[in-house]
Amino acid sequence: MYELLVQAAKFVLIGIIYYFLYNFLKVMVVDLALDKQNPGETGFYLEADDGRKYPLFSVNTIGRASDSDIVIDDPFLSSKHALITKRGRGMLIQDLNSTNGTFVNGKRIKKPFRLKERDEVVLGDKKFTFLRRESHGIKNGSHL
């Protein structure tokens, strides 16, 4: 009886072991896709409250004006509201004298401010989170 059970179980165990490996194959595919990302992209992005993602390049203007890099149609935003630039290996945000101001983690910024992962950026009444590409899933929690 035990032998029969073990004979059946060994195929199940091997199956699960290879399922585990298959999942790591998927991880590697994602890794390779990340390496091939657009050369202009910095690997950072802003995620809005509604889940929309705005990838960041080395210079990004944000505002209501249609020639902004990131166009946000919101009456509380100025037409040229804020600027995010690449500096060194990080990203710098600065306010372009907007009417309603740019807030990082609840504080209105006056000087250019260096963004850290998971910083909360508020423009007008829109809220964004500053993230890196690969840390995507962690903020959203489990998808299981």
Partner: protein, 407 residues
């Protein structure tokens, strides 16, 4: 697609836990009358793994979760085999596993906030030498090599810790991409390898030496030094063969184990029989005969594993080790600080060479040397130090990301 990362990791964690429950349930059914004790083992393992995973993910934002999951997967297969071989050994090993997970998180945090102090590599060298001298002075002999220190009932292998300090020493020496004083560096490396050889830990001496060679090549890209180093190691092997009796025994057992099956060739022959017995799918858990294999809980755990999980299981295990090495090299390539990049590369190289040495040894690809299979063999210092090495790799990645964010 990145959205799926966390989901994939959760699937692998669940698969790992499921393997544990099925395997330990089988082990429960094997004991007659039915005993629930193995199931408790599976529950303890799953509890430690999930606690460690969620704790490390919440404390260390942006860590490389794959390192931890792969290590847990290997540890679990090791724990299943250890329970199968001897439940008492399993009880000790699961405590070491818990301690290892804790050490993984702590070392990640320490390395993450490692301020780049200008520590003279000479200090790391001194620590390495002291660690290797300790067992020569106060050590006890176990399994033919004098590399253990016994304190009360606990024994500890300082050479496991010396691996990390040695890699840090080399990374500090080579971080500028050139060598000031080739002869001095060669003398220092040979001194470390010589100390290990004096403790009759020739496998360890070979690992340290080849790691040093790999790091020198990675840092300086000089073929002449690498070729000279390889030639010197070949000369040292020939010298070792004629100088040390036990090297000759090992090499002869490797060249022709069938000449003296009950004597010198016994270990390797039993190991080969066990692997052959396994076939493609294995004999099934609990139906093999690990009791025939000598040193089955430590050096030959891979043979016992391939007997019961078959060629497919053993191949999967080797792939998992490859994946760990791949993640490590990936970290080392992304790091811009040359000291940390070399340290990461050194740790990965040592890890990969160790796996090659022991698996190659038990399948008679190369002569058998007594090094442990990381995460799988029974042994507290090996388990904890392997987790610390991974923690350092993880910490190097986090350190790099922290500096990216701070400028």
């Amino acid at each position: 697609m990145e959205l799926k990362m966390e989901a994939i990791y959760n699937k692998t964690l669940s698969a790992t836990a499921l393997i544990g429950f099925i395997a330990f349930l089988l082990l429960s059914l094997k004991t007659s009358p039915f005993s629930p004790v193995p199931i408790y083992g599976a529950i303890a393992f799953a509890a430690i793994m999930f606690t460690g995973y969620f704790l490390s993910n919440s404390l260390l934002y942006g860590q490389d979760s794959a390192l931890f999951i792969l290590a847990c997967f290997i540890t679990e297969l090791g724990l299943i085999m250890l329970y199968r071989i001897d439940p008492a050994v399993f009880m000790k090993q699961i405590n070491w596993f818990a301690l290892g997970v804790l050490a993984f998180i702590l070392s990640s945090i320490v390395v993450k906030y490692w301020v780049n102090l200008k520590i003279n590599p000479l200090y790391f060298f001194a620590i390495t030498v002291i660690l290797l001298l300790l067992p020569l002075a106060f050590g006890v002999e176990k399994g033919g090599s004098r590399s253990w220190i016994q304190i009360a009932e606990y024994s500890f292998q300082p050479s496991e810790l010396a691996k990390i300090t040695f890699v840090l020493f080399l990374a500090g020496k080579l971080k500028d991409g050139r060598i000031d004083g080739v002869l001095r560096l060669a003398a220092e490396i040979l001194a470390v390898a010589g100390l290990l050889a004096m403790a009759r830990d020739l496998g360890g001496a070979m690992l340290f030496y080849l790691t040093a060679l790999a790091l020198v090549f990675a840092a300086t890209s000089r073929w002449d030094l690498t070729a000279a180093g390889l030639a010197a190691s070949a000369a040292a092997s020939v010298l070792g063969y004629f100088l040390f009796g036990h090297v000759r025994v090992r090499v002869e057992a490797w060249l022709n184990p069938w000449q003296d099956v009950p004597g010198r060739g016994y270990q390797i022959v039993q190991s080969l029989f066990a692997i052959a017995q396994g076939g493609f799918f294995g004999t099934g858990l609990g139906l093999g005969h690990p009791e025939y294999i000598p040193a089955v809980a430590t050096d030959f755990i891979f043979s016992a594993f391939s007997e019961e999980f078959g060629f497919l299981g053993a191949a999967a295990l080797i792939i998992v080790y490859f994946l760990l090495v791949y993640r490590g090299i990936k970290i080392s390539l992304t790091v811009k600080n040359s000291f940390l990049a070399l340290a990461a590369l050194g740790i990965v190289t040592l890890f990969g060479l160790q796996i090659f040495t022991i698996i190659g040894g038990v399948i008679k690809l190369i002569p058998m040397t007594g090094v442990t299979l990381p995460f799988m063999s029974y042994g507290g210092s090996s388990m904890v130090m392997s987790f610390i090495s991974l923690g350092i790799l993880n910490g190097i990645r986090l350190n790099e990301r922290r500096q990216e964010a701070d400028g």
